[in-house]
């Protein structure tokens, strides 16, 4: 379970967004109540399979089934871990409207990625790594968009480049079960069924491992949590 990043404590210096005391208290309260609401609505039971919650620097990568995914994973983490964890979300969805933008930026402290306008000198991976610094963790969905059929699609290469540039970060597979029935693609009213979030044992990029091999291994790690 040890990794070079283990030395980082939760009391790490606060990054952007935590400067003023007033909005932070409000955002914390909003965050806590939203986490509780998300847990209640999705009836999520949380399993840690051969792994433990930890405040060390991690990338949680999960299958993508619903708009609720990021919120539910985020709320499944213990409070101390949650405060250090930033979801990666699509800019085109999360910057639309005042409420969504406020939620994404202030409450979830999300990193918004522009899916439509990816530049070479401003790659999403560089942006993510710059934003997380040496303390924060990430929640990513390597499939890129929500699955229509419920099958777990091929992973995009971002996860590989993340692992290559920061090989010491723990990559934790996460499997989300049944959340696509709570809020399927194209629906806005949730049905309060029970879902299950499974966190698996961390993995790392092996020395000299080819991109496709690594992505396939990561994808199979998520699928393996289905049982």
């Amino acid at each position: 379970m040890l990794s070079p990043a283990d030395s980082h404590q939760p009391s790490a210096p606060p990054l952007a967004g935590n400067a003023a005391a007033g909005p932070t208290a409000l955002c914390r309260a909003a965050g806590l109540s939203l986490a509780a609401l998300a847990r209640l609505l999705s009836g999520a039971s949380v399993r840690w399979v051969a792994s433990q919650p930890d405040t060390c620097q991690r990338v949680y990568f999960a299958n993508h089934t619903s708009h609720l995914d990021a919120i539910v994973i985020w709320s499944s983490l213990p409070q101390a871990v949650r405060e250090l964890t930033r979801p990666v979300a699509a800019k085109d969805y999360w910057s639309r409207g005042v409420v969504r933008r406020w939620l994404a930026q202030e409450v979830f402290n999300a990193i918004l990625i522009d899916r439509t306008d990816i530049k070479v000198h401003q790659s999403p991976v560089d942006l993510m790594l710059r934003e997380v610094g040496s303390t924060k963790s990430l929640i990513v969905f390597p499939e890129g968009s929500r699955s229509v059929t419920g099958e777990i699609g091929e992973f995009k290469s971002g996860l590989y480049y993340l692992a290559k540039k920061r090989p010491e970060i723990e990559l934790v597979p996460v499997h989300i079960d049944n959340l696509n029935r709570v809020l399927p693609r194209g629906e806005f009213l949730p049905v309060p069924l029970l879902s299950c979030i499974s966190f698996g044992p961390p993995l790392w990029l092996e020395r000299g491992e080819a991109k496709l091999d690594f992505l396939d291994r990561a994808r199979r790690a998520v699928i393996a949590l289905k049982e």
């Binding site: 009836g43 039971s45 399993r47 079960d177 049944n178 029935r181 399927p184 629906e187 009213l189 949730p190 049905v191 309060p192 069924l193 029970l194 879902s195 299950c196 049982e227």
Partner: protein
Amino acid sequence: MNDIRTIALITGVLTLLTAATAVGQFLKRHPDRGLDPAAVNTFNLRLRGWWIMCTVLAAAFWLGTTATVVLFGLVSFWALREFITLTPTRKGDHRALFWVFFLFTPLHYVLVGLNRYDIFSVFLPVYATLFVLARVAFAGDYKRFLERTAKIQAGLVVCVYCLSFAPALLQIQIAGAAPAGRSANFRLLFFLILLVQFADCMQYVWSRMLGRRLVAPTVSSNRTWEGLLGSATSTALLAAVLWWAAPPFEPWQAALAGFVIAIMGFAGGMTMSAIKRDRGVKDYGTLVVGHGGVLDRIDSMCFAAPVFYHITLLVAGAAP
């Protein structure tokens, strides 16, 4: 709730639970008594469940009729959640399910709370059914249409409609009982819950002791005809002994009610086993178990409550 019968009933149950807990703890500490440790563990888990059930029920009774109706409403909501999670649905069912959860279930309990028997007795079986059929049709997905709508319908009837007859017992007018205190009605509900739990236990005990012929080996590997008969007889006996607790009943009527409650409870258990078997415990079984499995706890109650309600109505000879 300050009459002698209620106090006697509550004291009796508390004494029984305390004694059982003492025995359970003793068996846990002394595993050398030749008893199956798994059975002892199950027994202790069951007991813990009953303590929780008793505490919550006592709180609801103390707070009054409305609180009890709300409590049963929440239990129904959670049970329906487990039921629908267990059964596969398609995307075309999503909107229908939304209204089932957030409109029909709460509204039904509001009608129960208002004692509108004339409406709540048809609201879910007729109007919710029509709505679900039409809403799924409007969604445009005709694949296995009847199968899907039947699943939603079965969930609503078992988890919501049937269970709601338990708190509806609080609204029955009993001749001779003071309408203000309503402690007689609370005793009726308590009587039902006690008998259902007792019948469950007796079924287990008789099946283990004398069980030979399984009712349906493919559905349940521990429910036997001997268990059913033994449980029905012992529950009838207990009901006859406790007849004084259930206001409108003569001893023989109470015994008959107990007999029917045990059989209905058994039927409920069998039904839920069949559904779980069909889904394969692997699927969402683990998930529901992690949540304590409300549906597992109330399956017998769901089947027994409406029958007991109507027996009481018949015996009391009054409109609800």
